[in-house]
């Protein structure tokens, strides 16, 4: 039997509610306090957004027209096909080149960043000045995008995948340097104390105290970087630094959309394959299943 059907129950309920309201007045207040700041931030955010939409020429007509054009393009992408077997071979080789660029760039950066990471870590650095400059150099290397590095290296070693390897190397050196030094700083210093207390030198403190904690972390970071570099390496061809990006941008310029769709699918498949392999290797190294 529900409450409403009892005679007089509704008014009793109202009375109880009233009593609750008077007793716990504070809890029935609308919660405006502290929301003024959030509210003004929201207003500001919307205003900036509106200004952006206005000044960046995002007119309704352009968006609708563009979406129609995009729809027609997508229809012309179907079904994705490589065109011919020889072209498929070319694409496969370009994809292999992309993987090669990603592997070498990541590995070189990891090898060079490894010693430099110790210089940039608070607990293993030589002195504060060295640490400061190491950190800032890593920040600068990271601040320049891979595509910009690629353009610069093309000026040095010419067009081709080698420039791509060097570009990935530069930008990864920045991120590895930061990640490695943070991992070194986060390492537990009790094993180090243990090594030092048995009379070990500072070098053996690093070798037997820090390295065993560090290696699994570093390897897993390198594997993550390899995954994301496979993606990056597939676009640096746009500026001429090797890999499948060159083919992709040419196909878009000449509107060979079916073949373009094939190449995009090839990239997606390769990236997922690499993700899968890296997850397996990471699992076998650190024994933790990646999420």
């Amino acid at each position: 039997m529900s409450v409403q059907q009892l005679p007089g129950a509704a008014s009793a309920l109202a009375q109880r509610q009233q009593a609750l309201r008077t007793r716990y007045a504070a809890h029935f207040q609308p919660v405006y306090r502290g929301h003024l700041g959030a509210f003004s931030v929201a207003i500001l955010a919307v205003l900036v957004f509106a200004y952006g939409v206005y000044s960046l020429d995002m007119s309704y007509a352009r968006i609708v027209g563009g979406l129609g054009e995009l729809g027609r393009m997508v229809l012309r992408m179907l079904p994705p096909e490589p065109g011919s077997w020889s072209l498929a071979g070319i694409y496969a080789y370009a994809m292999l080149e992309t993987l090669a660029i990603a592997l070498l760039g990541t590995l070189l950066a990891a090898i060079v960043a490894f010693p430099l990471g110790f210089l940039a870590a608070r607990n293993t650095t030589l002195n504060r000045v060295v640490q400061f400059f190491a950190r800032r150099s890593f920040d600068t290397l990271r601040g320049v995008d891979i595509l910009i590095w690629a353009l610069i290296w093309i000026n040095v070693v010419g067009l081709g995948p080698f420039a791509g390897v060097l570009a990935l190397f530069m930008s990864d050196l920045g991120s590895f340097g930061k990640l490695f030094s943070e991992a070194i700083e986060a390492a537990d210093d009790k094993p180090v104390e243990g090594v030092v207390s048995t009379g070990g030198s500072s070098l053996s403190a690093v070798r037997f105290g820090i390295l065993p904690q560090l290696l699994p972390v570093l390897l897993s970071q390198v594997l993550y970087a390899f995954e994301s570099n496979t993606r990056s390496a597939s676009i640096i061809g746009i500026v001429g630094a090797g890999g499948i990006g060159l083919i992709l941008s040419e196909q878009i310029r000449t509107l060979e959309l079916q073949q373009m769709a094939f190449v995009i699918l090839l990239i997606l498949a390769t990236v997922s394959l690499i993700d899968f392999c890296c997850a397996r290797i990471r699992f076998s190294i650190i024994g933790v299943r990646a999420r």
Partner: protein, 285 residues
Amino acid sequence: MSLPSHLGQAYAHAVAAKRRQVWIGLLVLGVCVLLSGKVAEISAAKLADNIGNFSNYIDRIAHLESGQWVISDPAEWFWGWKKWLALMGETLLMAYVGTLLGAAAALVLCFLASKNMTQSAWLVFATRRLLEFARTVPEMVFALIFVVAFSLGPLPGILALAIHTTGALGKLFAEVVENVDMKPVDGVLATGGNWLHKVRFAVLPQVASNFASYALLRFEINVRGAAVLGFVGAGGIGQTLLEVIRKFYYADVSALLVLIIATVMLIDAGTERIRHRLLGQERQA
């Protein structure tokens, strides 16, 4: 003290097996590296021959046309600062609008992609695959396609950023939503609330600060991304940068690079402070 012999043997076996594994791994890696070196046309000789070009290049971008150091005459170095600042502003605005659009889309999709908020397994699956697609395709590829569909300008760049952001944030948001405390949700459900009530009153208060923090991190990443979208004609400062690099206006290259790096660092520092405050709030609550 010596170990009993069978234990010693077992230990030696275990160590040997581990060593063997490491050596096999290194061997495979070595073969891969050699193959890659072949495919990627690595040549130490070429690098050694041309490494002079690199230092030469750095040297050139550090000097004005008159041969002076760039720092000696900042007015001459940053001669185009009005134009460049406007372009940098456009880049920032692109990143902002793209991030906001992407975050809004991710906010809608993340609830459909989390198992605890959506009953239908296939809807969760489909949403997750959609998000995966959006973040696996590099934003440059989207930008290339959109430039053809929407014509040149910032619009295709913003859309490319927005799609990539949707994919990346949608995944992170969904992970946060799947880890919320379900008791408030049960409470809202018990008082007869519908799905929207659940989201608004039970989940959002728990996740809002995390969402904002992730969105800010994405904004930071998108500023870097927006700075190079101009390479394919999708607006921002990238187009000008590409021009000055290709046309060998050395001093301009360094001026633009300094401008971009300084802006990125400034944005990094700013968003990091806001994020620490946001996450600090969460810990107090």
